[in-house]
Every structure is written in structure tokens, then in C-alpha cells.
Point group: C2
Chain length 341, copies 2
């Protein structure tokens, strides 16, 4: 993704992007601290190469009033020495999931292990890797299971019944954390909607139409369902997705609107030092990663990359060189910022 | 799998199969209690429809002296209120993983949550769903991550560097537990070896030869590598597999032979009641499962089955009607039993 700047793009330093993003979010109505937390996530996503999940997301948020409906303070509903259940108070996911991650870190540092459930957040929450990175930087292992609203059909079914239900796991290493962050769907909903706007065909085997027939037409797919990931092993993608939807119920998914197919986040965070000394674990995982990366390649094969490696490498460059923002997005953000202040 | 008995098969009741299995295992050299635990697993696998993982496995064990090498007692190496690290003492996996599961249940009942690592087991350990079923029957949620010896190539690589690294998650419901048990490899090693014996072609996209080229020839694949599961989403299968290999390091994988690519098991077990009341969680998960099963089917689609549903249904029948054992296997077991007693 070593992209050159085109005339349709504006290059912003991280500081400039942050200032623009925070200001715009405050103009839309987010309190200063909330705007800061959301914007830090968006700028990080842009740095990591997920430009669609960066500043353009502010325009999506601006157009969607459900992101800033009536709020109550984030509230601890239930707590034990090893667990916290959190009511997000209908604050935006970017803010609530971040707070839940901080609670999970604190609890795991006290007790060695923590189970944290979060429900009643407003859309959106962005990349799960972002929430687990601070977990791994504290030398903890983090798992995050997120259930979502139905967009994915179960194996054999013809209607959306499951969320894209991502799974993320972060591990500390001697260097950068290793963070797996994967959707259990064959394609993301956002990607599907984008392709329907651009009239772009879908890959084979990622969606069905409303009659349950395979389709590569994004317009038909938007009215139909996404399929679980896994190609010929879709039953595994379906099994993982259903499991994550069920784990969401443990995190209180049904408590906000009485629906068993709703949004929730479950964190499992623990200290590997409970079992093996930290230094040994890091030495071992570094050796494993080095071995994997040194695997002889397949003919024509590219570098063997471990989860999160590319994103962190891009981020390092972006922090020096800045990020590219579509000029239309840049102008739209400035219009919001100018018009409302 | 509603199979009729052929003249090459013997029908045994669960009690008969258990008696035969336990006796044969004791004749091979397993102590009575260990034989009982191993055999209960094998008979359960046969009942659940995994006939290859049933009594025939005793012949594999008999031929492999590494399954009963020098042993030390299973030992708790490290313990906290929320964790146990267990040295399996080189006892067979069927026995050690079962003991670790019992420790995880006990610990999670005391503290609400438990992290249990197990290393230094001898091959083999069978189905991970088996170890998590008692966890879910105690109304606990269980996760089991198993790292294994290298047979799978990383995405882009041409050599086996990762295990088939299965992932299992069990959840209590108002009825039977829901248990996901999936390998992160495109094909199991045992299945591959069986196909090479039978000269049976492999499906597309599950293996590469020793030069890293795709192959459907099982003989070439045995010398080459299995691929991660996931078809066009193999990077997700690879990411999961590598993550599980790394979690194995937390469970002490490197402590038995100093290798970072070795066998180990990590359990995460917790009480959903830490977050939501048990009755509510069960009501919610039952409603979710009912909704999923009632999804309108795709044209020509079969019943929508949730993880473990088929296995439990088969087991119910097998417990009444007995299991079918290949006559050659039956005879071989009896020969071992007769010759050695």
C-alpha cells in the first residue's frame, strides 16, 4: 500500500488529522473526551492502512443520528474480583469498547485474569485489534469476541441471522504485539455496501440473494445475506460465528433491546505469567515467529507475514510521512467544522 | 450415517465395546484407571459417529510405543486461585487432557474462571469436544486451544511449520451443550494418511507437495504439507493456527523437549453467571439456537445443524443400538487380548 499522493488527496500529519478529526467530532456533538477517544482510533486505523476506517468514518457517523442518541453514563452493572459487566449507556462503541478494554486490563493486572462483558453501545466500534493492542502492551493476552446485528446467513440458510462476529486475539512478544483480528464473515458489510455503490462485482462465494441463491451482484447481495468465511470449510466459519453470537449473550447482548441477535463485546484477558515466566514466554513466541517467517516460500510466494505485521509497519511509516485523505472527505470535514462552530 | 451392519462388521453394545477396549488397553500395558479413561473416550467417539477415532485407535496406540514411554505422575507445577500449570508426566493425552479438564472445572467452580495449561503428554488425545462436554454440563463455558507438532504450512510457505491446532468452545444451553470443535487445518493428518493408504485423491486446495506446489496426490501430500483451512480465506486459518501455536507456549509447550512447535493444551473455563444470571443465559442461547434452526433454507438446502448436534443425536441412537466395529479390528483386538493375558 505504498501509495503516491494523487491530486484528489490531501496529505495530513498525524497531528493535523487528529486536530481536524477531534474538532469535527465535537462539532457533530461529541463531548471533548469522547471525540478524543474516537479520533485516536480513526487516525490509528488510517495509519495502519485501513483508510476507509479512518477520517471518512466521521462522515458516516455524522449522517447516522443513532451514533449519538440519548446517553447515560457508562455503568458497571456487576463486578467480581475476576469480572465486570458494563452497560455502555448507549455511548458510541468507539468509546465504550475502549473503556471496557481499560477495565479488563486493570482487572487482569489485579487478579491475573478478567472476563469483561459490554452491552448497550451505539454504533460503531471500528477495529478490534485497536482495543487489544494496549492489552498486549501491558504484557497480557487478550481475546475479544464481538457479536453483531444479523447480516450473515447460517450454513444452509437463506436469511441473515448472524453478525459478522469478529474474533480477535492479541499476544505480547519481545517486539510488537501479535494481533489476529478476523471477521467470521466472507466479506465485511461495509465492503459490500461500498461495492454496491461502485457497481463492482463480488468475489465468488461470499454472498447470496434474497432467495438464497449465490450471487456476485452487490445489489442483490445487499438485499440478501453475506456467507460465513471459509470457502469449502464454511461450516467452520458458521460454527465460529454462532459461537461468538452466543458469547455475546454472556456479555449482555439481550439486555439492551431484548434481542438475542444484538451487539455485545466479551473480553477475556489474562497474564501469561500465571502459567509460564514472562521472559520465557516472550523468548518462545519470538522464536516461533522467527521460524514461521523463515519458512521456505512457495513458488512465486510473497513474504510470510504474521497477523498485524503489515499494519504496524504501515503505521510506522504513516507516523513519519502522514496519511492521505480523499480531498472530498477533507472538504466535507472542514465544512462541518466551519458551519457549526 | 445411518449405516446398516455389513458382514464385515460386528455390532457391539456400549458395555461390550467398553469391556473389550478396556481389556485390550490393559493388555497393551495401561494401568486399569488409565485404560478406563482412554476407553470411555474411544467408545464415546464411536457412538458420536467418529468410528475411525473409536476402537480402531487402540491398534494405532498398540503399534506406537511412544504412547506408553517412561511416565512420571501427573504433576501440578504452578497454581494460583485462577490457574494451574500441569506437567502430564508423559502419560497418554487421552488421560492427561481429561485430568486437566477436571482441574479446570474444579478451579472455575471455586474462582469463577480458570486458566489451565498442560504440557508433556504422550500421543494421542482424540476429540477436544469430549473434554469440554463435562465443562458445559457443569454450566461452565469452556475453550480449549491445542497446539500440535508441525504438519501444516503457513500461508505462502512450503514446509510444515504449524500443527493442525484445533480450537474448541463449549457452551451450556437449556438442552444439550453446544460444542464447536474444529481443526485449523484444511484436512486432518489422520485423514490424509488414510487416503494415501487407500490411494484416494484429495480435495482441491488442502495440501501441497514438498516443493510447495498444490497437489491432490495423497502420497505427495504426506511428504509435503497440509494447508490451513479457509479456502480463499486461508490467511484467517493461518492466523488462527499461529495464534493457537503461540497459546500452546503459554501452556508450557516448550518445557518438555525445548521445542517451540510442540504439543500442549490451554483451557479457559468460566462461569457465565459471573456476568449474567444462568437462567437468563440459557433462555437466551436456547432462543438463539431455535431462531438459527428455523432459518428459511437455501434451495436444496439440508437441515440447519448447530455444532455437536449431529454427534449427540448419533450417540443417543448408538447407546441404544450399539456401535459397528470393523471385523478385522474386532479380531485384532481379541488377538491382543487373548495373546497377552
Amino acid at each position: 500500500m505504498n501509495r503516491r499522493q494523487s491530486s484528489d488527496e490531501v496529505r495530513l500529519s498525524v497531528a493535523e488529522a487528529t486536530k481536524l478529526g477531534e474538532h469535527t467530532l465535537q462539532c457533530i456533538g461529541f463531548p471533548r473526551e469522547e471525540a478524543r477517544v474516537i479520533c485516536a482510533h480513526l487516525v490509528d486505523a488510517a495509519c495502519c492502512g485501513y483508510s476507509f476506517a479512518g477520517l471518512p468514518r466521521i462522515l458516516v457517523i455524522a449522517k447516522d443520528p443513532s451514533t449519538r442518541g440519548p446517553c447515560q453514563p457508562i455503568r458497571v452493572v456487576r463486578e467480581t474480583p475476576v469480572s465486570v459487566l458494563v452497560d455502555g449507556g448507549n455511548h458510541i462503541g468507539y468509546y465504550t469498547v475502549y473503556q471496557a478494554a481499560l477495565m479488563a486490563i486493570k482487572k487482569a493486572k489485579q487478579s491475573g485474569i478478567a472476563l469483561v462483558g459490554l452491552y448497550n453501545s451505539a454504533p460503531y466500534s471500528g477495529r478490534n485489534a485497536y482495543y487489544l493492542e494496549p492489552v498486549a502492551r501491558e504484557n497480557l493476552v487478550g481475546m475479544l469476541f464481538s457479536s453483531a446485528l444479523p447480516t450473515v446467513a447460517p450454513e444452509g440458510g437463506a436469511r441473515p441471522m448472524l453478525g459478522t462476529n469478529p474474533l480477535a486475539v492479541a499476544l505480547p512478544t519481545g517486539n510488537e504485539p501479535m494481533i489476529l483480528d478476523m471477521s467470521t464473515a466472507a466479506i465485511n458489510r461495509g465492503d459490500l455496501v461500498l461495492r454496491s455503490r461502485l457497481n463492482e462485482q463480488l468475489p465468488e462465494g461470499v454472498a447470496i440473494d434474497e432467495n438464497g441463491l449465490p450471487t456476485r451482484d452487490p445489489h442483490m447481495a445487499v438485499k440478501g445475506s453475506i456467507l460465513p468465511f471459509g470457502g469449502p470449510h464454511k461450516h467452520k466459519g458458521f460454527g465460529l460465528s454462532l459461537t461468538i453470537q452466543a458469547l455475546g449473550l454472556m456479555a449482555g447482548a439481550s439486555l439492551s433491546r431484548g434481542l438475542v441477535q444484538d451487539w455485545a463485546q466479551l473480553f477475556v484477558v489474562f497474564d501469561p505469567g500465571l502459567l509460564v515466566p514472562e521472559a520465557q514466554f516472550k523468548r518462545d513466541i519470538d522464536e516461533l515467529i522467527a521460524l514461521i517467517k523463515a519458512t521456505p516460500r512457495r513458488p512465486g510466494g510473497d513474504e510470510i507475514r504474521i497477523p498485524s505485521e503489515r499494519a504496524f509497519r504501515e503505521r510506522e511509516r504513516a507516523r513519519k510521512e502522514g496519511i492521505l485523505v480523499d480531498r472530498k472527505v477533507f472538504d466535507a470535514l472542514n465544512t462541518i467544522g466551519a458551519g457549526r462552530v
